[in-house]
């Protein structure tokens, strides 16, 4: 098997991730639920991981990192907590449904106003047009750091500066970039960063969360068991427990911590360079093949290891299936939970075949991927 679906989940993890999860399952008590050795071991692992996340994202400290089950849950916490009737929000057409659907629900059920910055057919966004969308009641600008379809990385510092000039809060979906593209909340002016653990942080599925700037306060999304303040009628109002309820996925967080340790040891710049090198080699290898259309990657836009393509008018699902069945190559076809991006690129019907690379991929795998696309491009030629 050749795995090129790392934008969905990284399958090739540092071995210490699985080892950490296995060890945690055999040794952790309830996190935040006692003072005995087994509970404290879980507590310390979770606390250590909070600190690692804060360092990776340039956040204030461990106390400003709240865990959730993934970026989608984290973004629901942000959008549901911050937006109410009378507010206006802005996002971009590059957003994943993890951003769009909570916003659409707010729009449809509570009357929150919403503006969406278009993405041009060449996949670029217009920063001046973003500036023009703000209104006096704009409360939140929430956008993705990188398109999960094209891999294009947007200038979040520039977007944040524009939003702050209008007095709006800034929340960024880093599902495709955390661990792969440097993020610095303080330097880039980000109020909230939502991350997921199972992609480029190499953690297990079911891990993710939020990192907040010190000045940001988000109402609790869910309330219940906190392990502390048991006689209080209401959920704790201090971070990080404020945004967490119920026993955390400490076993998964132990794996996430191991993934973060790997990134710290290897260096994000080295991981990024190798990933981008592999993606660029693949892109060059398939560029110009008969009928192959590539999406994104124009001008000075940074990339995050994704190459999206189509072959003629062939259904992306058919191409993906052929790659899987005949070449053992795993890619993602279809809409990728990014409906507005497909509208922008004109691929709503066909979808797109997304190749997403990891620095664990090899040169040989890239060559075999190029050969497979070349074969299919010729087989489907004229379709």
């Amino acid at each position: 098997m050749i795995y090129f679906d790392n934008a969905a989940t990284t399958m090739m993890k540092p071995p210490e991730v699985a080892e950490a999860v296995a060890a945690a399952i055999g040794s952790f008590g309830g996190v935040g639920r006692g003072a005995h050795d087994a509970a404290l071991e879980a507590d310390m692992a979770v606390y250590r991981c909070r600190g690692q996340v804060a360092r990776l994202l340039g956040g204030p400290d461990a106390k400003h990192v709240a865990f959730a089950s993934n970026a989608t849950e984290a973004l629901n916490i942000v959008i549901c907590g911050l937006l109410h009737a009378g507010d206006h929000a802005i996002t971009t057409a590059a957003s994943h449904n993890s951003v769009l659907r909570p916003l659409f629900r707010k729009q449809d059920e509570e009357g929150v106003e919403l503006s969406v910055l278009p993405v041009a057919p060449d996949a670029c966004i217009d920063y001046d047009a973003f500036d023009a969308l703000f209104q006096p009641n704009t409360r939140l600008a929430v956008f993705t750091h990188a398109s999960n379809l094209t891999g294009d990385v947007y200038d979040i510092a520039r977007l944040a500066a524009i939003a702050h000039a209008h007095g709006a809060l800034v929340a960024v979906d880093t599902a495709q970039t955390a661990g792969l593209i440097p993020i610095d909340m303080a330097a880039q002016g980000l109020d909230v960063v939502a991350f997921t653990g199972h992609k480029s942080l190499y953690g297990p599925q079911g891990t993710g969360g939020l990192c907040l700037a010190e000045s940001v306060d988000i109402p609790a999304f869910k309330v219940g068991g906190s392990g502390t303040h048991s006689y209080d009628r209401h959920h704790p109002d201090f971070m990080p427990e404020h945004l967490e309820a119920g026993t955390l996925n400490a076993h998964g967080i132990a794996g996430l911590s191991a993934g973060l340790s790997y990134i710290e040891r290897t260096g994000i710049d080295a991981i990024r360079a190798r990933t981008q090198e592999l993606a660029a080699r693949f892109e060059e290898g398939v560029r110009g093949l008969p009928g192959v259309t590539l999406y994104g990657g124009h001008a000075d836009i940074d990339r995050c290891g994704i190459v999206a393509l189509n072959i003629g008018d062939v259904d992306s699902a058919a191409v993906s299936d052929a790659l899987s069945v005949h070449y053992g190559i795993c890619v993602r076809a279809g809409a990728h939970c990014a409906p507005l991006m497909h509208e922008a690129l004109g691929t709503s019907r066909q979808g797109a075949v997304r190749f997403s690379f990891s620095h664990f991929n090899t040169d040989d795998e890239i060559e075999r991927g190029i050969e497979a696309v070349s074969d299919l491009a010729h087989e489907f030629e004229g379709d």
Partner: protein, 83 residues
């Protein structure tokens, strides 16, 4: 038959507002070697998080010094007769 009966003695107990503060104390103590250990908060203290830090009375000053030097966050400091 229990031969050694437990007896109470004066302890210094530090409480925390949040679990993260308690974990910071645990982490810094392990790294810097100051005294004490995590305990469940004694019921006579109305404390924030469910964990506290305990030292024997003779280690009180060393702990207070560490809290000051390393600016460790805490909620309250108590003197308690406890087992």
């Amino acid at each position: 038959m229990v031969e050694n009966k437990r007896e109470k003695s004066l302890k210094t107990v530090v409480t925390f507002s949040t679990m993260a503060d308690a974990m910071q104390m645990e982490s810094e103590a392990a790294e810097k070697g100051f005294p004490g250990r995590i305990i469940p908060v004694p019921s006579e203290i109305s404390a924030g998080c469910g964990l506290a830090w305990r030292v024997d009375e003779r280690e009180r000053q060393a702990l207070l010094n560490a809290i000051r030097i390393f600016t460790l966050p805490y909620e309250g400091i108590f003197e308690i007769e406890m087992y």
